[in-house]
Amino acid sequence: MTEPQTPPDHPMPTEEQERRLLAPGNPLNPRREFLRSAALFTVTAGALGGGLELLTRRPGAGSAEAQAADPFARPARPLGPYDTAEAVTPYRQATTYNNFYELGTDKADPARLAGSLKPRPWTVRIDGEVRKPQTVDIDTLQSWFPLEDRIYRMRCVEGWSMVMPWLGFPLAALIRRLEPTSKAKYVQFTALLDPKQLPGQRQPVLDWPYVEGLRLDEALHPLAFMAVGLHGRVLPGQNGAPLRLAVPWKYGFKSIKSIVRITLTEKQPQTTWALAAPREYGFYANVNPAVPHPRWSQATERRIGELGRRKTLLFNGYADQVAGLYKGMDLRRFF
């Protein structure tokens, strides 16, 4: 039997030394040292993780529970000639995933900030090449036409799509009522300009107010629609209350929101996105899988609510109805 040898440079602590080492105040206390490391670990991991979360995470509105409970998911009425039978995008997703740069550039911004947009009272000015220029209250304007439902596909230039059950009236009915003169060739739409109601306009992201336009024959096409409702309810602010356009064969940005002015013009209007990036966004903006955006392909899209992608259809699936409008035009040039 040999006595355990204590190395000379690491003598076993005496009981007295050990007692003093473990005393609560001693900075060399191993328990204290452990706690210190644990605290440092937690703070570092928390700070780095939290900082990264803060910089990158933008949770969207939860959607799983909204999917099942939507009464409009299966329309009760018989489908009309312009409706799609494809599954309708649930209300929750259609109203929390929006591009409405006047209310912020993030998809979740419009739903968050739409409270400042006041859709009543609201007037729409109608002028230009019309026999009956006037300023009309939105409720009066709405009362001119019987409201109807339209279930349209909507395709965003960013590569996602939805199916929207609009409520409204055909644009053609409005234009005929205004009695265009023989000089009228185009229709120009102007959105509300009011940074108090649309706080995103405080940033010069685009040239405000937002302006869009259609050729007169496009505007008179029975698919071109003015929407005042969605999912059988009044149009929410983030979706362009109280009056917006829906041209389903064109990329979504053509369907201008929160319209305050409709002008019939002789010359092609200067539209907002075409001015902001003329190489990327043309006046026509017809959905076309064969003409890529300069920075990304338009061949496929994701239907919101699906994980995979589907092939994009020419004119967003409305080619039978609208291809005739563009006969003889080079769609690569007039993109």
């Binding site: 440092l40 670990f41 937690t42 570092t44 991991a45 928390g46 700070a47 780095l48 993780g49 939290g50 990264l52 979360e53 910089l55 990158t56 995470r57 933008r58 949770p59 969207g60 509105a61 939860g62 959607s63 799983a64 529970e65 997703q93 929390t96 995933y97 740069y101 550039t105 998809k107 979740a108 230039v157 960013e158 996602w160 940033q203 992201v205 685009l206 902001a276 990036a277 890529p292 920075r295 990304w296 392909s297 061949a299 496929t300 994701r302 919101i304 609510g305 994980l307 995979g308 992608r309």
Partner: protein, 200 residues
Amino acid sequence: MPAVVTGGLLPAAVLVLDALSGALGANPIQRATQQTGLLSLVLLLLSLACTPLRRWTGWTWPARVRKSLGLLAFGYAALHFLIYLFDHGFAPAQMAEDVLERPFITVGFTALLLLVPLALTSTPRAVRRLGFARWTQLHRLVYVSVWLATLHYYWGVKKDHTPPLIAAGVLALLFLARWWRRPQRHAAWPLPTDRGSASP
């Protein structure tokens, strides 16, 4: 530093939780793509901040966490790419077309490819095998990669370019900081290369 690795992996855990709970919103794949991409870029910037921070403050901990930050950045970039592949149905033909024809994708893909050799040679053994001088030279690829990643970010945004421009600004500052203290490096913080050339 295990704390840095744990902290760096927290966002990935939150991302998985968000994906499972539906908190990623209406377009979860797009959200996941954007989040992993941005995480990767932020971590790359943090890893690039280590050397100037060490030189300016004299602290040594930045040098110890640099590798972890770089590897985390690579991990998120790889995840970002995997989600893109999943998004496009793992179709190699379409991916090849994207990489060849769309500068936006070309640039992002190149940024990722440039990080691969850096991740592979992140072990001390690789440093020894390559020799420190060559290893350092190889790892300068990160400078190219991070600029390409920033350009990729810029091109991926439809209109509001503020966030990518902030990233570019931070990056420019980091490069300036590197240049600023350049002459001091040899005096105050001799690197192994300098020592190597001085030894017989």
